[in-house]
C-alpha cells in the first residue's frame, strides 16, 4: 500500500505532490493514486489561478479607482472584496449568446483556449522551495511555447465571431503577439545564458544576485513585450475599447465572457509570476525556507501593481507604431543584450562554467551601462523616426477684423 515516487519521476521535486501522493497512496492502488493526486494538484492550481484572477480584478479596480480620484468597488464584502463573486454570478445568469453565422464549435472552444495557457503556465513556476508542479528541465521554453497559444485563441475568437470588429481585433492581436514573441524570446536567452539552465528552479537558485540587476535590458524588453502580449493599455490594440469596442471578444457574453476576462486578469498574475521567477529571484528572500511563498506573492503583487499603474496612465499606441516599437526598438535591444551577455559569460565563467556572485555583480555593472546607453541611443533614434518635426505653436493675439 505504500506507494513511493522514484527520484527519476518528473513530479519527484514537487513537495506538494508527494504529500498528496503519500496520503492518497494509503487509500488507493498506486496507479490510481498517481492519477488522483495529479488531478488534485491540477484542481488546486486551476482554482488558485482563477481565484487569483478574481482577486486581482478586485485589486486592480480598487487601484484604478484611486488613480481616478474615486473609490472603486466597495459595496459587497469588506472593502468590496466580494465584488468579483458578484460579477461572476451576474455573468453566470446572463444569456449565453452565439451570433448568427458564427462557427459554433470554434466559438465555444475559445474561452477554454484562452484560460488553458494561463493555468498551464503556472505549472512550472516554483512558488516556494521545491513547490513547482513540474520541475521541467526546459521550463523557460515551455513557458514561451504555452504563451503563444494565446495568439491562436485570439484569432479563433475573431474568426469565428462573424463580426468585423472582432476580425479587426483578431488581426491586430495576432500581429502584435507574433511581433512581440521575438524580442521576448531573445531577451530570455540572456537569462538562460547566465543561469546556465532552462529549468525554472535552476534559474531561481542561480540568482544570487537578482537578474533584474544582471539583465536590466532583458527585463525591460521582457516587461514591454509581456505587457503587449497581455493586451494591457499602451499596447491594448486587440481590444481597444475606444476604437473597436471590445475587439476579438466583442460577441462573447455570459460565462464565456467571464472566462475570457478571468484569463486576462489571470494572465497578468502568471506573467508576473514568470517575471518574478526569472528576474526577481523568485521565492528567495530572508527566511525563504518557510516564507518563500510570501516573498513570491509579494513580488507578484509589486509587479501587478506596476502593470495597473501603467494601465491607468498611458494612452494607446497605433498599430504601426506598436510594431515599429517591437521590431525597431525592442528587437535590437534584445540582440545587443544577448551578445553582451554571451561575451560576459564567456570571459567571466570559471573552468566548471559557474558564475560566482562577484562575476554577477561585474556583469550587473557592465549591463547597466549598456542598458542606459542603448536606451538613450535607440530612444533618440526611434523618437526622431516617429515624431514629426514641427515647432510648438504659440499664443497669438487676434487682430480683430470686423465684418
Amino acid at each position: 500500500m505504500n506507494c513511493v515516487l522514484g527520484p527519476d519521476n518528473i513530479l519527484y521535486d514537487t513537495l506538494l505532490f508527494r504529500v498528496i501522493y503519500d496520503f492518497v497512496g494509503q487509500l488507493l492502488p498506486c496507479g490510481l493514486a498517481y492519477v488522483a493526486s495529479g488531478f488534485a494538484i491540477m484542481f488546486l492550481l486551476a482554482n488558485g489561478v482563477l481565484l487569483g484572477a478574481g482577486g486581482f480584478s478586485w485589486a486592480e479596480r480598487r487601484l484604478i479607482g484611486r488613480f481616478h480620484n474615486r473609490v472603486g468597488p466597495n459595496r459587497w464584502g469588506p472593502f468590496g472584496t466580494l465584488q468579483p463573486m458578484a460579477d461572476l454570478f451576474k455573468l453566470l445568469f446572463k444569456e449565453d449568446l452565439t451570433p448568427r453565422g458564427a462557427d459554433r464549435i470554434v466559438f465555444m472552444i475559445v474561452p477554454v483556449a484562452m484560460v488553458a495557457p494561463v493555468i498551464l503556465m503556472m505549472a512550472v513556476v516554483p512558488f516556494a522551495k521545491d513547490t513547482a508542479l513540474a520541475n521541467l528541465n526546459v521550463g523557460v521554453l515551455y513557458v514561451l511555447a504555452v504563451t503563444s497559444i494565446t495568439s491562436i485563441a485570439i484569432f479563433m475568437a475573431g474568426w469565428s465571431s462573424n463580426n468585423l470588429y472582432a476580425m479587426f481585433g483578431a488581426s491586430r492581436g495576432v500581429a502584435v503577439l507574433i511581433s512581440y514573441e521575438v524580442p521576448v524570446v531573445m531577451s530570455l536567452l540572456g537569462v538562460v545564458l547566465v543561469a546556465g539552465s532552462m529549468s525554472m528552479a535552476d534559474v531561481v537558485s542561480a540568482q544570487t544576485v537578482p537578474f533584474l540587476l544582471v539583465q536590466p535590458l532583458a527585463f525591460f524588453v521582457f516587461f514591454a513585450g509581456t505587457s503587449a502580449e497581455l493586451n494591457r493599455t499602451p499596447f491594448d490594440l486587440a481590444e481597444a475599447e475606444s476604437e473597436i469596442i471590445a475587439g476579438y471578444h466583442i460577441e462573447y457574453s455570459g460565462v464565456k465572457f467571464a472566462l475570457i476576462q478571468a484569463a486576462e486578469f489571470g494572465a497578468v498574475l502568471t506573467s508576473s509570476a514568470v517575471m518574478v521567477t526569472l528576474f526577481l529571484s523568485g521565492w528567495s528572500g530572508p527566511a525563504s525556507s518557510y516564507l518563500g511563498w510570501a516573498w513570491f506573492l509579494m513580488k507578484i503583487g509589486v509587479l501587478a501593481f506596476v502593470f495597473s499603474w501603467i494601465r491607468a496612465t498611458f494612452p494607446r499606441l497605433r498599430i504601426d507604431q506598436l510594431l515599429a516599437f517591437a521590431w525597431k526598438f525592442l528587437l535590437p535591444l534584445s540582440i545587443i543584450n544577448l551578445f553582451a551577455t554571451a561575451l560576459e559569460v564567456y570571459f567571466l565563467r570559471d573552468g566548471a562554467g559557474i558564475l560566482e556572485a562577484t562575476d554577477l555583480w561585474i556583469m550587473a555593472g557592465i549591463n547597466f551601462g549598456v542598458a542606459i546607453g542603448c536606451l538613450l541611443i535607440f530612444g533618440t533614434l526611434i523618437q526622431d523616426k516617429v515624431r514629426p518635426v514641427r515647432p510648438v505653436s504659440g499664443v497669438t493675439i487676434a487682430a480683430p477684423e470686423v465684418f
Binding site: 468585423l164 493599455t233 475606444s242 494607446r316 514641427r390
Partner: protein
Amino acid sequence: MPIRTEPMTVNIGPQHPSTHGVFRLRVTFDGEEILEVEPIFGYLHRGTEKLAEERNYTQIVTLTDRLDYVSSMINNQAYCLAVEKLLGVEVPQRAKYLRTLTAELQRVASHLMGIGFFLQDLGTLGTPLMYAFRSRERILDLFEMLCGARITLSYSRPGGVFFDAPDDFWPALDQFLKDFETEYREIEQLILENEIVMIRTRGVSILPLDVAINSSVSGPVLRASGLAWDWRKMDPYDAYDRMEFDVPTATGGDNYDRFWVRIQEIHQSIRIVKQCIEQIEPGVTRADVPLVLRPPVGAEAYGRVEASKGELGFYLVSDGGISPYRMKIRSPSLLNLTVTEHLLVGWKLADMIVTLGSLDINLGEVDR
C-alpha cells in the same frame, strides 16, 4: 502568388463608445486604412426648430438647453441675444457680467469634457477624463447655486438672467478658482507633453486653413488651423468688450493643435472669469420685459456667440405672434463635422477615432 484582399465596409456607430452620441460613420477600410468615409447623422433629431414655432419666446430657452447639452449656458446666451436684438431690449450691466462669467465657466466645463474624451479616445483608461470631470463637477456645483440645475440650466432669459447670484456663490467661485489652478496643472502635467499623445496626434489629420475656411469651420478647430477667428473679439457681445484676453491659435491644424488650443483657451476663460469678478457691480439683473413677448411683425434678428465649439447663431423671424415664425440654428458642431471626410481618408482606424474626438462634436447640436 499575391494574396487577394478586398476592402471591407464597417459601420462605426450608431452604438459605439467613441462617436460621442448616436452618430454613424460608414467607413470602407483597406486593412486598417480608411478609403472612404460617409458620416450619417440624424439619429438624435428632435425637431428643435419646429418645436420653437409652437412655444413662446421665454419657453424656447429650455429648448436651447438641449442643443449642446454640455454648454447650455452659452446656448441660452446666444438665444437671448437674438431675442433682445429682436425686441431692442437693453440688458442691465450686472446681467451682462453674469452672462459673461457663466459663459466662460461653461466654456471651461465644455472644454474639459472635450479634452477628457479626446484622451479617452486616445486610449487612456479614463484617468485624464476623471481628472477633467473632477473640475467640471465643481463648475456644475456653482451653476446649481445659481439656478438650481446642473446641465439644462436656462439661466439666461430674454432681458437678462433669471436670478442674481446668491451671496454664497462668490466665495465658492473664489475657492473654485483657487483649487482649479492646481487641478488643471495636474491635468496638464499628466498629458500635455506625454510622448504617446505626441506621436499619436501630431501631424495626424491635418486641416489646411483654406479647407477650413471654405467649409465654414469655426471655433477651436478653425483656430488650430491658424486663423484667430473669435466672435468675442470681433463682435463683442455682453461684457466681452471690457475683457482682456488672448485668442490662442496654432499653425499645424492637426489633432494635437486642436487639443492644445482647447487647453490654452481654458486659461484664457479663467482670466475672463477673474476680470468679471473684479468688474461686476451691484444692480438689477433683468430688464423690465413682459413674460409673453410680442416682437413687431416682420422683425428679424441674428444673435451669435462664440460657443465652446464655434460660432453658435440663432436666426429669428417674427410674425408678431407670441412665438417665432421661424427659428434657424447655426450649430457649430454640424459645420465642423463637414470636414470629416477630408480629415479621415488615408488615415488609420485608430486615428479616425482620435480625429473625431479632436473635433469635439456634440450630437445634440448636430441633429438638433
